[in-house]
Symmetry: C2
Subunit: 293 residues, 2 copies
């Protein structure tokens, strides 16, 4: 299969041996090789505008909110006072858009390695890039790993919205990165990282959860539907410096009216709790690695 | 895109406008046009043996257990004494395999319209078709809708494991079918039907939930990951004749040892509860149709 054959884009990488998701393309809006990765922006028939990095779908207009809301509010609503937030990656602006909605968040630093993702998102994904307009946000074009090394006891919440563990994001999946994040947190701080799918990538998911378990006082693994990610599912590894953190019981419960005022389309109080219920085969795999839930 | 081009199978039907899931095929094990539908059995590189009906993936060796366990145990563990169970469809045998595991289930009637699905599953999907070996099971090759018309106040639980709302299964998605099921249930009886995905097929999901809501004293909609279904997600519409049924709090809680003895690979007590937490856009769609959760 070719990636762009007869009007269809097919997701085909070494990460997806023997399987592929395809979308009918109405228009290739942009294609370039940046300093770090291949960037492709498509207008599709079924999913609106789609951002593809190094051949992997990063987000689609159709369902991006599921991922952005979950990676943002699982950690934010688990922290009693998330004043200073750091976003690593997230060059499309979607996570910044969600984080800025939290009334207690005062400042957001965001560090994205590839300024071309930011610039192209402003042009083609304005519904996500509106996140860059928040007065709370300071955007730094830099390497997330190096940026983290320069900060000590500063942030309340660190959200790592990385691409997949190939290409520029590979260092963000390693244990040393979790140790750096720990150092960059204030007491009681919380981290949340994109942590792959348990369908077919169970080892990666187990490893990411293991890093949190080893480095933080409290750790958890959560899951969400995102229909256009491989297998339709993505996981999040969460860690807290506060051993009393109970990730599955958020400290802040939204009323229905608050949820609607915040324009949340995926996240609810019930969805937050349910995200921590994992299939038996995942529970068993985590236990087998001595990383009990 | 062709369905079987250069060694790949692509799922391409009117139900999936503009999107497609593909798997690399090692061998086409069988292909025939039965009296009711096109049956295709593939050996794939990534998902083992795969059953395809009328171009839609029905189950894969890789992840079939998620669907079979959820459609079986969501209703069974919501019923205090599920002695008589009816399975409509399920010609691969997977649901029968799970239902037979429940210690209180005494007899299982199964009605499948297409005997060729049963026969081919016995040959190519023996890990599912083992369900047909249970001494509790009586298999009827007949039309599920007509079979239901002939039964009154007989079953405790009715599970409808249908293919998609095209082809032979279309009548199983209509309100009249839910009314027939209601008549076929004993007092306190419960039904559970495959009810499409809320990603892209939100109208179908809303409609199925609506049927349960209109016909039964208690209704609920549940969701599960199944990585090889469109969007990686499938829903279940549940109804009960007993208004005190609380689907999200099963009457029976499994111990870890019981779960392992029953060889459950997906279902857990926590997964059961979590299945009833729905994304905000689904909650809002259900409310907009006056079918509040």
């Amino acid at each position: 299969m070719d990636q762009l054959k007869s009007g269809w884009f097919s997701e085909l990488t070494d990460l997806l041996s023997g399987r592929s998701f395809s979308m009918e393309v109405e228009q290739v809006l942009h294609k370039e090789q940046s300093k770090y990765q291949e960037i492709l922006v498509l207008k599709t028939k079924s999913h609106g505008v789609v951002l593809v990095l190094d051949g992997m779908i990063q987000c689609t207009e159709f369902d991006e909110y599921a991922y952005q809301e979950m990676i943002s509010f699982l950690p934010l609503f688990s922290h009693p006072k998330p004043q200073r937030v750091l976003i690593v990656g997230g060059g499309d602006g979607g996570v910044a858009r969600e984080v800025a909605k939290h009334p207690l968040v005062e400042t957001i630093d965001q560090v994205e390695i590839d300024d071309r993702v930011v610039e192209l998102s402003k042009i083609y994904l304005p519904f996500m890039a509106e996140g860059f307009n928040s007065p709370k946000l300071n955007l730094h074009i830099a390497d997330g790993f190096k940026f983290m090394e320069e900060h000590t006891q500063y942030y309340d919440v660190i959200i790592t919205d990385s691409s997949d563990p190939i290409g520029p994001a590979i260092s963000l999946f390693q244990k040393s990165y979790f140790e750096l994040m720990k150092r960059a947190l204030r007491p009681g701080g919380i981290v949340c990282s994109q942590a792959d799918t348990f369908w077919g990538h169970l080892e990666n998911a187990t490893s990411m959860y293991g890093h949190c378990k080893e480095v933080f006082s409290k750790a958890a693994y959560a899951t969400s539907y995102v229909s256009t990610y491989p297998a339709g599912q993505i996981g999040f590894a969460l860690g807290s410096l506060d051993e009393t953190t109970n990730f599955a019981n958020p400290v802040y419960q939204l009323t229905n009216q608050q949820r609607k005022d915040m324009k949340l389309r995926y996240y609810t109080n019930d969805i937050h709790k349910a995200a921590f219920a994992l299939p038996a085969f995942v529970v068993d795999a985590f236990e087998a690695k001595n990383t009990t839930l």
